[in-house]
Every structure is written in C-alpha cells, then in structure tokens.
Symmetry: C2
Subunit: 337 residues, 2 copies
C-alpha cells in the first residue's frame, strides 16, 4: 500500500519551491498513519517550520446549505485577482464514515480548482477529530511554506469541529442564512461567541431585504456579548456568494482585523497560544491512542465496559485499574501470560 516516498530534503526543497505536486505528496505523507511515515513527516515539518506562518488563516463555517462552497469559490477568485495565492483546506471528521469528504471538494469549486494560484485539498479522512485537525494544521503549515498567503479552512457547523478550526485560524467567520428559525443556526451551538464575523449569505434577489433585517438583529444581539480579549467587536455583514456582492468588504474587514490585532499584540499572542494548545492536545491524543491501542487493554475493554455500564463495578476503580495495568505493561513486555 505504501507509495514511494521522497527523501526529507526532497520534500522540503520541493515545497519551498512551491511545487504543487511535491506539496500534494508532502500532505499525503503527513496524512499517513504508518509509524515510518510519521517520523519522516516530522522531519519535514521541523524543516519547513521556519518558512511557515506567513499567511492569514481564515476559518469558515456554517450549517449545510448555507452556501460555503459557492462563497469560497467566489471569495477565493477575488483574492487571487488581488494577487494572493489561496489554499483551501477542510476539517470534516465525519468524512470517513460518509465515504469521502464533501468539504473542499474540487468539483464544487470549479474555477478555483483550475487556477494555478489556488490549491484545494479535501479533508483528511479519520474518525477522530484530534487526528483530522492535527493533519489539517500540518497541511496548513506546508501550504504556507509553499508560498500560499491566504489559507481558507472550511468546516461544517456541527459543534466540536468549529472549536478545532477556531484553534488554528486567525479569523473565524460564520456564514448564516436569513429566514425563519435562523436565530438557531449558530447561536445554539455557541458559535457566535467564538466567531469574529457573522456573514448573512444569499443576500440576493427577494432575500436581500430579509438579510438586511437579519443583519440588524444580529448586530444588536452581538452587543450583548462581553467584549473579547483582543478588543475586536464581531461584525455582521451581508453578502452573496452567487453575485459576489459584499465579498470585497469582507476581505477589507479581515485586513482591518489583522491590523487591529497586530497593533495590540493579540495576533501573535493568539498564535503562540494556539501552538501551545496544539501541543497539549496532541499529547492527550497520543496518550489515549497508546492506551486504547494497547493489546492488553483492547483484550479486556469490552468486557470491563459492559460491567461498568451494568453498574456492577465502579467506573472510577475500573478506570484506575486499567490505567495501572497499561502503565505496568511496559515494564514486563516479555512476561508470558
């Protein structure tokens, strides 16, 4: 199954030269779960690290049907025409179960995917959000090293994945629709608290007046939230991914946000915090992976868990016994059963 790998220096020089084929192969490498690939990937990541970080990272979320793909297609084309190089990534932990990602799908961003100044990569597959988001973060750094200066990270509005994307971007944008019940689209998930802008999409045709009214409602509502630490007050605007109306103003807002947070130091502070959090999250991920992949634990987990579920043994005591067994297991690898 394992494809031919390049050497670490070949990956690094290819990525730094902006070679799209090597970039794609490097991302494939970091998506691999083979231990051998992981070590090579870490070497590559360590070497490209000094060349990463020089992009604006923008997260985009919204419920299915809100028009994310059309928005990104238009928004991305506009940025390209302004001289930016744009990479589109996605975080979709459900992509494995549903048999392939629907996010970052090239067929849904026809013009953008055919343009050499853009790079689109679908969500890595994987059942755990921790794994998927770690790989997306690494892909983001690779794209930056390859010279992409705007990274758009798309996710579907289903709760935890937005938190993951918020943890890797500079600016987080929530797309919404005007209309009945829409107050619940984002607010119910607690997204409004973490977004830097709330964009009412599909503000075109008959919908335009409705969108304007929704804009006022949300703008009023946002004032009820406590101010953010970075001093930025989330803005509400309308746009049409279809016609392109409002997209320029959105990019100007992102640049205004960047100036504001760079000036007060919170831009870099947020990135430093994100890196630390990323390390801590990966520590949790690796510890749990080592635990649940351990043959000793795998052999008894199902039985033990059904006893706990039935209430015949204590959850706490059982957890402690399992963790102790796991930690001792390393001490006696040769011991026969």
């Amino acid at each position: 199954m394992r494809k031919n790998r390049l050497s670490a220096s070949a990956y690094v020089s290819g990525v730094l030269a902006g070679d799209r084929v090597v970039l794609s192969r490097a991302i494939t490498l970091i998506e691999s779960t083979l231990q051998k690939d992981r070590l090579l990937a870490e070497q590559v990541m360590q070497e490209i690290l000094p060349h990463s970080g020089r992009s604006l990272r923008v997260g985009i979320t919204g419920v299915p049907g809100v028009g994310k793909s059309t928005f990104i297609e238009r928004f991305g084309m506009q940025l390209i025409e302004q001289g930016y190089k744009v990479a589109v990534l996605a975080v979709d932990p459900s992509s494995q179960q549903t048999g392939g990602s629907i996010l970052g799908d090239k067929t849904r961003m026809e013009r953008l995917s055919q343009d050499k100044r853009a790079y689109i990569r679908p969500s890595p597959s994987g059942s755990t959000l921790g794994g998927v988001s770690a790989r997306t973060r690494e892909a983001m750094l690779l794209c930056e090293a390859a010279g992409f200066d705007v990274i758009l990270i798309e996710t579907v509005g289903v709760g935890q994945s937005e938190i993951a994307v918020k943890g890797m971007v500079d600016f987080f944008l929530l797309l919404m629709l005007a209309g009945a019940g829409d107050e619940l689209q984002g607010i119910k998930k607690g997204i409004i608290e973490i977004c830097d802008a709330l964009i009412i999409n599909k503000a075109d045709g008959e919908n335009a007046a409705l969108a304007k009214r929704a804009r006022r409602t949300y703008a009023n509502a946002l004032h009820l939230f406590p101010p953010k630490e970075n001093g930025w007050i989330p803005e509400v605007s309308t746009c049409s991914g279809l016609s392109g109306d409002g997209l320029e103003a959105i990019w100007e807002m992102v640049l205004r946000f960047e100036r504001h947070t760079r000036a007060n130091g919170t831009f870099e502070r947020q990135r430093a915090l994100q890196r630390k959090t990323w390390m801590r999250e990966h520590i949790s991920y690796l510890l749990l992976q080592a635990f649940y992949d351990n043959p000793l634990i795998r052999g008894q987990l199902a039985d033990v868990e059904s006893d706990v579920a039935a209430g015949t043994v204590s959850a706490i005591a059982t957890a402690r016994a399992l963790v102790e067994r796991f930690r001792e297991a390393k001490n006696e690898p040769e011991k026969p059963a």
Copy 2:
C-alpha cells in the same frame, strides 16, 4: 493534615445506616487526593455501589442571578414535605480560584440546611472539571446509599460544567429570566439542546406577564430543535422560587419524564451510557495526570512549551517526543541521570 480515617467497613455501614456524620466523612475521604485515601475511597465506593442508583438525579443550571439558591431552597422544602429525602450537591470547578464555593452554600439555603431530611454539600474544590465532577459523582452515589432519593445537582451556567452535570443526572433543568437579552442566557451556550425543561424563574409581581410571554417564545423555539432520542420534548414553564408558585408542577413534570423514559427504556440506557462515559473520562484524567505529574515531564515542560509557543519547534514532534519519554521513563526507573 490527614485526619483520622475510619475503616472501609465503618464508612460503608455508617453510610448505609444513613448516618450523616459518617456520610460527610466519607465524602471528605473521596475528595482527598492522597493516594492512600484514594485506595480506601475506591474500596468504600465498590461496596456501596449495589446500594446506589435508587434516586432521581436532577441537574439545575442557569446564569448567576437567576435565583438558583432560592429555587432549590423552596423546591427542596416542597419535596421534603412530600416525604422525599433530598441531597443538594454542586459542581463548580472555579471554587478553588475564588477561595471557596459559592454553590451549594448552606447559608443561602437556610431552611433546607437545617432540616434533617435534607443534606447539603458544597462543591469540592479543584482546578480541573474532570476532578471536580468525578468527586461529585461519587458523592452522589454515597448520598443514594445513605437513603437520599432525590439528588439536586447545581451548577453555574458557564459552559463546560453543564455538560459535566448533564452527564451525571437523569433530568436537566435550565433556569432563565424573562427580560431583555434573555434569549442569549442559555441558547448561546448550547444549553437548550441538552436541557429537559426550561423554567422561567421569578415569574412573580410585575414580572409575571413578561414571564408568560417568554414562555410562549421559548416553547415555539424548542419546536425547531430535532426530537431527542428518548422521545421527550423539553417543556417550558414558569415559576417563582420566592412564592413557590409553579414548583409542584415542575416536580410533576420530572415524574412524568421518569415514567416516560422508564417505559421506553431510555432511562436505564442513559444511566448505562453515563457510567461508560464516566469510566472513559476518568481514564483520560488519570493518563493526563500521570503524564503531567511525572517528574521528567515537569522538569522540562515549561522550556519546551515556550519553544513551541515561539514557533521554533514543531508542536506535533515535541508532543510525540514528550509522550515517548514519558512511556519509556517507566522502563528505566533506577537509571541515573
């Protein structure tokens, strides 16, 4: 510092006899973080386990100022007068930082705290929600073994702690206030999705009409949420913790919920799932605790973390190196530095 401990069997027989002094000492035991106490506590928990589970567990949340203490005082007194034995516990992970819990405070529930048919215990102190909620769960089982048949678990509306409380109760109740901006009190936290009832408190005096209107608004809004797996449609009602109006109807609703979910099997299924989740959460907690308490890790974490924050080394590779060092550490305990 360590107070005299009883024997495991003395704790168990005291708790089962409903001895409040022994119950308090048993809860103090399970709140201890000393390794020796933990082992004794687990022995006690294992023995009382068959005698636990025979209560209705009700979670109560709401933003500060919503009137939780007054509500619980009145609601608890009403239950006692109906013949129930009521225990009040609290989950407040911030209680350590703020120098003592403000939740479950006896001075704020004057009548209830002086009644022999009630038992009030403030939130255990602790900086991690995992630790605080594990101890509250164990306290809950001890109270059940001591004969309390309604457990009220209070928490403040700050996000994660509600999720923790939801994971240990049968019925979850959100208190709200009618008035400007109140749409955001709960919805913004995603609480409405996890609550079984939404109660508009302080529906008295001039506020009564406002509360009635809010009730209709929320009842309409709740219909927009997808139906829950247990088939229960969250109900909205008004009450006055001050006058006691509406409290009887709330308890009738809780009992109706119990009948409904016991009949379709989801009551016991939810408890089984909670026990399994509890074990998994405790596994994560113990693994992370072992990692961050490890002297080798403690010795280098701060340095390594500031390198990661500065962006000079990779978060992923650093995490892996630390976890590997942690796992190998057990293999060479005697090796000199």
